[in-house]
């Protein structure tokens, strides 16, 4: 690959990250091109369609989530228990979700029910890593009784997707996390 091509690819991804984080899938190719300092045609040289560019950006964002998840899992024995870590991870991901609409786009790509998609993510992909780490963390938290015994990964994904986005004031998100975490730990009534 030629040097200028590599440089432009980087610029495009950088611009797309910013704009997709801000506007989600509604970010326009025109805007991304302008921000990257290239013409639209160049975007299409590197990514056959808008969808592909979005997918690349989304992969990045999921990478971040995977990192958070793996760190949370690793911290279980060193620091707080599995329940605490799972809660903190949940809060962190909700916060991220609010600042990065790429994650909303990611959620939109999942078929319903999401469980199947997540299980079949390509091994080694960011999604697969996140799924592995979160599943392990969830397992531990359940076995310790820190969360309701019937809690599944699908539940967590659903609750993450439901979280208020960044239009909402921050204290609303805190409230959401607080209420949901209470519901997660608590009784198995019905």
């Amino acid at each position: 690959m030629r040097s200028d091509a590599a440089r432009n690819r980087g610029r495009i991804l950088g611009a797309a990250r910013e704009l997709v984080a801000a506007a989600g899938v509604d970010a326009t190719m025109e805007d991304i091109a302008r921000r990257a300092g290239v013409a639209v045609g160049t975007l299409y040289r590197h990514f056959p369609a808008k969808e592909d560019l979005i997918a690349a950006v989304v992969e990045d964002s999921i990478e971040h989530i995977a990192g958070l998840s793996e760190r949370a899992l690793a911290a279980v024995d060193g620091g707080a228990g599995a329940g605490k870590q799972l809660g903190a991870l949940f809060a962190a991901v909700v916060e991220r979700h609010a600042t990065d609409r790429a994650l909303k786009a990611a959620a939109g790509m999942l078929e319903n029910p999401p469980a199947a998609d997540l299980a079949s993510a390509p091994p080694g992909s960011a999604t697969a890593r996140a799924v592995t780490a979160i599943t392990a963390l969830l397992e531990r938290a359940r076995s310790v009784g820190a969360v309701r015994a019937d809690l599944t990964l699908a539940d967590l994904v659903m609750l993450l997707g439901a979280a208020p986005a960044d239009e909402a004031p921050p204290e609303m998100r805190r409230r959401y996390v607080e209420i949901v975490l209470t519901g997660l730990s608590g009784g198995e009534s019905s």
Copy 2:
């Protein structure tokens, strides 16, 4: 108003109700006109802009919510307690939310934070009626200790808006309601 005009107005509203319920604000004027059996121009005779037509449809949907809320409030003494009624109302509205995207459009019309908007709804409007009934129900539930003492109307609106829509399978919504209701009744930890 001429008789044919009245008839067409009705048809347009009917068609809009169906299509907006199904597709939300993305329903097109063209589609609504076709379904109503009139030309697009006729829509614009009755509603200056798409926004106005949507608003009319949304008012209808909120009317339904207001009815549910008032019935729930009235049923408190007759049947179950305030906590039970509030929970059942929450579940019912989530279910409605899932079948009727007009409500999503309604949520989109609220500025943030929604509390201010809701308080300043025109007296007598469907929104005002719903707010009054739900506030009263909430008050009672709180005083009985059926829900956490710091629960506000804004919390409920937020949790309703966050509920999974109809793309999601029904059991996912049930799960959401179950978890959130647990979180609503439970402890005031943190």
